[in-house]
Amino acid sequence: MSEVVSRLRKPLVSKDRTYTEVSDDVLSVIEKPPGHLWKICISISASLLLMGIIVVGYQVSTGIGTWGLNKTIGWSWDITNFVFWVGIGHAGTLISAILLLFRQKWRTSINRAAEAMTIIAVMCAGIYPIIHMGRPWLAHWVFPYPNTRSLWLNFRSPLLWDVFAISTYFSVSAVFWYIGLIPDLANMRDRAKTPLKKRILTIVSLGWSGSHRTWHRYEMLCLILAGLATPLVVSVHTIVSMDFATSIIPGWHATIFPPYFVAGAVFSGFAMVLTLLIILRKVMNFEHYITASHIEAMCKVLLCTGMLVGLAYGTEFFIAWYSGNQYERFVFLNRAFGPYAWAYWTMVVCNVFIPQFFWLKSVRNNLVIVFIISIFVNIGMWFERFVIITTSLHRDFLPSSWAMFSPTWVEICTFIGSFGLFFTLFFLFVRFLPAIAISEVKTVLNYAKHKDHHE
């Protein structure tokens, strides 16, 4: 048997690996007892989570007044964090669904982690709409269930669209992710040593046998789900943007918001994926699967979406000027030169200027710089939402009610707590589930290599 190596394509897995070795590489990590590093990481994140829970408990029992909001600024960090987390979620779906539809094979080694990130990020996001309510114990009222009041819901409210969008997005993503996990769970089941593990894995792998007849439908199912998830992911951030776009507040009321938000979501999501994967590949020894070219590809996505976002910023300004609407004009001047100018320029620098370094291949190949830039983008995209929400609200139509916002410790701790939740769940995920889609990687093991069987 001779082996022909393509000159045009680089292999997607950078070292020769057999199927068993792939399984070993991915699963051995989680079959061993946890290491010290993992224990330290999960303790830190779980402590942050615990702090978050306590703080949220305090806020819910005392009142939203523990936050820094006021009569003029009814939303600030709460919805900023909500949009931030939803946005982060988008990269996972994008990688697993859109890249699947486009047959981008390089996605196979990162899609599992990215999808897990999606689900966890949506969970983090989903907490905010609940706790930001004045009476979160009545949160179930936003669902249309038959009730004694004979009263339903207002389907004209973008917030209600959000309820449907976020819950659909979460459940469909979770199902998609789980469906993807089944073959790998079966692999784990068949490797399991202890009866208890075997029993649990038997249940959760749904009796998967690797039958080709099932694989045949499975591949179609994945395509269908990808096909559904793709418009879904676009719709989710579109609807999130409509929370703002359909309102009348200058700085919110903009038709550009849906594409702008989707681009921003992809941008921020990929930044977070980069942040996580750079850590993950190091910590879990996944360098052969999550290769430098993966990182580079994602850098290019960042560069592109960063410029899209930059274009949106510019467009907003142009339209504000071109519209001739005094309130619009004021809001944008106020963003750039008003009391929150520091936030605005942080956003612009982090999101538009810093990613420009990705034009340089040397930067894209330097993991440390890529990591740092990804952090900057995360920060910048948080500020984007803060700028949109807070600076638009704080000075709207009537100058008499103009006000300023500053967060309280409760808000800050809640935000840190949501990172605690995110990382706790993510660490649990990498600890207990295969962080790389084994069966999918196996399909691309021979990519760019062709074992010539028939001469």
Partner: protein
């Protein structure tokens, strides 16, 4: 009632494909092939027809769409028409986002359930799997041993000749 299967275990998917092709040529009906990842090009040897899952999705999605629109219309126009912000009772445009989401929700979930039912996948306590290697690195061709007329010995030999590293009989409940 139990079924007996003759399993041919391959290490290499190309050998397995080759074997499947040979078996098909010799008119031996392949019950199923078990692989750790989807191997393309086997459908013809297994006589698999294209799946109808897309149809399920279409029907489910359409149902979701119609139900969502009807429900929103009923709530906003028929059951209790309320003047909200001067908008018409039937604010059709505003009903689209929710209708879309419900379409996707129905489409996705019903398709997944259809898939699980059709593939007989469910949370089970013991799995009737053919070969434990088939989820990791083995490619297993399973032939149903239906009755006495099945020439077990000969077929085993054929499989071994085709490159199977291991040939065995497995009974599955």
């Amino acid at each position: 009632m139990s079924n007996k299967y003759l399993l041919g275990v391959f290490h290499d998917e190309h050998d397995m494909i080759h074997a499947a092709k040979a078996l098909k040529k010799s008119k031996i009906v392949i019950h199923d092939i078990y692989t750790p990842f989807p191997v393309h090009g086997l459908d013809q040897y297994l006589d698999i027809k294209p799946t109808r899952l897309p149809v399920v999705t279409l029907v489910a999605g359409t149902t979701g769409l119609v139900l969502a629109l009807l429900f929103q219309y009923w709530v906003s126009v028929i059951d209790w028409p309320i003047n909200v912000g001067g908008k018409p009772f039937n604010s059709f445009a505003a009903f689209i986002p929710v209708a879309f989401e419900i379409t996707v929700l129905f489409g996705a979930f019903i398709t997944v359930f259809a898939f699980l039912m059709r593939s007989k996948l469910a949370p089970v306590f013991s799995s009737g799997i053919m070969h434990s290697g088939a989820t990791q690195d083995k490619f297993v061709i399973a032939l149903a041993v239906k009755d006495a007329s099945f020439d077990t010995q000969n077929t085993s030999k054929t499989l071994a000749d085709l490159g199977a590293s291991e040939v065995s009989i497995r009974e599955v409940k």
